[in-house]
Assembly symmetry: C2
Homo-oligomer: 256 residues x 2
Amino acid sequence: MTKIIAFANQKGGVGKTTTAINIGASLAAIKKRVLLIDLDPQGNAGTGLGFVRASHRQSVYGVIMGTANAADNILSTAVQGMHILPSTMALAGAEVDLLDVENREYRLRDALKPIMEHYDYILLDCPPALGFLTLNALTTADYVIIPLQCEFYALEGISHLVNSIKEIKNKWNPNLEVLGVLLTMYDKRYGLTRAVEDDVRGTFGDRVFKTVVPRNVRVSEAPSHGKPALFYDFNSAGAQAYLRVATEVVQKTEKE
Amino acid sequence: MTKIIAFANQKGGVGKTTTAINIGASLAAIKKRVLLIDLDPQGNAGTGLGFVRASHRQSVYGVIMGTANAADNILSTAVQGMHILPSTMALAGAEVDLLDVENREYRLRDALKPIMEHYDYILLDCPPALGFLTLNALTTADYVIIPLQCEFYALEGISHLVNSIKEIKNKWNPNLEVLGVLLTMYDKRYGLTRAVEDDVRGTFGDRVFKTVVPRNVRVSEAPSHGKPALFYDFNSAGAQAYLRVATEVVQKTEKE
Ligand SMILES: Nc1ncnc2c1ncn2[C@@H]1O[C@H](COP(=O)(O)OP(=O)(O)OP(=O)(O)O)[C@@H](O)[C@H]1O
Ligand SMILES: Nc1ncnc2c1ncn2[C@@H]1O[C@H](COP(=O)(O)OP(=O)(O)OP(=O)(O)O)[C@@H](O)[C@H]1O
Ligand SMILES: [Mg+2]
Ligand SMILES: [Mg+2]
């Protein structure tokens, strides 16, 4: 049973792309078949895996518009067992392009049906907004992971995100569950970090991943080498944290 | 002559809001009359200055829609000499609400005309996207400051941002100038930070602020106290860096 996980948070720079890439690589390392879909017009999931922007014509834009099928736009990556459906700048125009179209919320979900059985996990990297592209991701996904920096602004916005997820669950996707909140760029030296962690664990209980991802320069260096942290510096604190997060993901989603 | 400065970068979490608030507070500290406008539906500029989300009905949304005037939606802040035109969630709907309206790019510019003479500086905090709200900011502004984290993804996206600014300058706003790229959350211990700095100074020359803003926990703690860093911890490295940046802003914009 293919599991679809969205990485969403309207707050910018909290680690959505970094988390999607590194959980993807970790799942591929334990022999799961993974497809990463870049729903952010910035295209960071692609560039973080070594794809030069605009060097490929494959894009999720045509797939969402209905002018192309998913299978023709999937590329393999340097990570054995992980494929990518990349984005291009054109994706920024999808919201307006599809404004008057029926069922525009289900575009992505319907387009993925023919290729789902080839993958164990499909990961959706979202842009920093609760607009059309994130909406399409959340109507398609079975689960949502909420990457959260332990900072004031990130904490401030989480209740609005959770309410939006509930609304989408009620209106369009009854299957949607919050798989967990993942604390990223965690720095135990700072009082602010610990204060935010206490607040989040108090509010979300065991829906907060046990693993926290530390701030670790190897994680932020890895994309400039076109690799996930696990393949850039296997023993780094960041790479090992993401491997543990992936284990928690498998435990939570393969319960059945 | 009122100077309008936008803080723009589609990359999320690079310090747009933090920079707008702290440059604003620094300008107010040297007795400039400042208006901060929050064009991000997240509303972080408001919450960073102590305004509880949804406790105020004032919003830039009505001003952009043309249903309200700017003067009625301006609030004073805890910082003497700095006012705010806050945002609300409704702002997220502005792009679609104004889709078929003539001259929608000039909505903000026209709405600010009646109140401009009351301020020396008007600062526009933008959301992490190159959509309608950032477009309105860039057609209104005289200058753009590009906050940039010294990281791979942030560097990756800057050429697209600069090209978009050029396009807006040609099509809608011939006055628009890049006032400078500001390096934020600078950590001189990391090789990646220095590599990005070398790349940026090589590309942008003296359009990069001489001052860099160091990563400084007091800067990220300040918004949880509803204050800019200067009023939370005057002597902190972050607050002092922003004071120096504001001095550079004055030098660059008050040349005449
Ligand atoms: N654990 C970590 N340690 C150090 N740096 C990190 C870590 N996680 C992410 N980063 C860095 O922080 C920055 C923000 O992360 P990332 O771009 O993944 O966030 P995002 O939420 O996808 O941003 P956006 O909102 O723009 O899509 C990046 O430069 C990334 O390399
Ligand atoms: N110099 C600094 N030192 C430490 N932390 C900082 C610094 N500047 C910003 N931050 C923190 O980094 C995070 C991102 O900054 P901020 O929210 O201002 O970026 P942004 O570009 O406005 O984000 P968004 O794209 O979501 O609008 C915030 O939690 C902020 O407190
Ligand atoms: Mg991202
Ligand atoms: Mg912001």
